[in-house]
């Protein structure tokens, strides 16, 4: 299991487009992806789940991956947050 803490750097927070990007990236890997905010944990491979988190600007989230390619999955998701979801 790999855990990483990331911060939301987009002003608008995680709305539909960033959420779709996370889901697209997550589905490339076979590992399970969970995202945690405070005590709420959702499945990162589903758009509704991510949007439900209500992650606004400057929110801290915990990325948890479990599976064969957990390290690559976690790194890829972390990259999305670092690059503020710009581009592919």
């Amino acid at each position: 299991m790999v855990e990483k803490v990331v911060t939301v750097k987009n002003r608008a927070g995680i709305h539909a487009r960033p959420a779709a990007l996370i889901v697209k990236t997550a589905n490339r890997y076979s590992s399970n992806l969970y995202i945690e905010k405070d005590d709420m944990r959702i499945n990162g491979k589903s758009i509704m789940g991510i949007i439900t988190l209500g992650a606004s600007y400057k929110t801290e989230l915990k990325i948890i991956t479990e599976g064969k390619d957990e390290q690559e999955a976690a790194d890829a998701i972390e990259q999305l947050f670092v690059t503020r979801f710009e581009g592919e």
Binding site: N43, K45, M48
Partner: protein, 326 residues
């Protein structure tokens, strides 16, 4: 869990028959004080000076009796017990029956930072309603990944890995006339120790579904209000999984259960394979659950009838073989 403040208590959106009718009449800055449990205390003993076992972490309710005693204290200018009460970090003070405290009481409350509220309800009625409301707020809860639908009046929680077809199954159930409570994220709360109530995470996102290939759709707009529901008791737990040829699936109708937040719920494991009609299996499961509630255990009855039939078959054989028994 987010902290529950006195302001949250006033803002609770409750229906007419369980509304609290609370107003703040003093100590406004104290509205940020936190309520941590569903206890209620009537501070009669406290006002009279007995502070042992003082339940200071509960909301303090002033009914007719407490208000009359307070009035007497105010008349006699004896405020020492009131001052001592306010040295504790009490969440708030609530005056029922539309009553209100005197000026000095309000001053002491404001000075200690304690909010003073009032309600026009009788203290007995208020106590019942506020206890229910707070029990609801502090009920153990957890959010899981799954879909909650109501099928023939039975709350069915459908879970399974991503991509197994939960949302598509739910979509077909909705099209057949059943109701969606929440897709993808279901908030479960344990109420009264033996009821599990499921609902959507928040009102803005509720009743939307994400379907691969279609995107996010609004169920209320497409299917209408009769296709949705805000909350429902979870009565059946269905786990969808990819058909595993090595696994033994239930062939007889056994009783698998699962425990969530201390509540035991019947559980079904349903294998998914292309060509299998999962929604109709879920509909049948829901109808079977209803039958069980009415007392008809189809699988058990079936076995009893089989036993009776076998018994009569062997009695026949016995009859024909022993010619000298009659």
């Amino acid at each position: 869990m987010k902290e529950f403040t006195v302001l949250d208590l006033i803002d609770l959106d409750l229906k007419e028959n369980i509304a609290l009718n609370l107003k703040c009449i003093g100590g406004r800055p104290g509205l940020s004080r936190v309520i941590t449990n569903s206890k209620i205390n009537r501070p009669g003993l406290t006002l009279s000076g007995f502070f042992e076992e003082f339940s200071y972490d509960s909301i303090q309710l002033f009914g007719k009796g407490e208000q009359a005693y307070l009035h007497r204290l105010e008349e006699n200018q004896s405020f020492s017990t009131i001052e001592k009460m306010f040295t504790y970090q009490i969440p708030c003070v609530i005056f029922c029956d539309g009553g209100a405290p005197g000026q000095r009481f309000l001053e002491l409350a404001e000075r200690s930072g304690c909010p003073v509220l009032k309600s026009d309800l009788a203290s007995g009625e208020f106590a019942i309603r506020v206890y229910q409301a707070l029990s609801d707020v502090f009920a153990p809860q957890k959010t899981i990944h799954g879909v909650l639908v109501e099928v023939f009046g039975v709350g069915v929680l459908i879970t399974g890995d991503s991509g197994v077809g939960k949302s598509e199954t739910a979509l077909e159930l909705i099209e057949r006339g059943h109701r969606l409570i929440s897709d993808d994220s279901v908030k479960l709360r344990s109420v009264s120790g033996n009821l599990l109530i499921g609902s959507g995470e928040n009102e803005y996102l509720a009743h939307h579904m994400e379907i691969r290939g279609l995107g996010i759709i609004n169920i209320t707009h497409i299917f209408g209000v009769s296709a949705i529901r805000d909350k429902k008791q979870v009565q059946l737990f269905v786990q969808l999984e990819e058909w595993d040829s090595n696994k033994n699936y239930d062939r007889v109708g056994g009783d698998m259960t699962i425990e969530i937040l201390g509540v035991t719920i019947p559980k079904l494991e349903i294998p998914v394979k292309p060509g299998r009609n999962v929604p109709i299996i879920i509909e049948t499961a829901a109808m079977n659950e209803r039958l069980k509630k009415l007392g008809y255990y189809s699988a058990k009855e079936f076995n009893q009838n089989v036993l009776k039939w076998l018994e009569s078959e062997s009695a026949r054989d016995l009859f024909y073989k022993n010619e000298d028994t009659f």
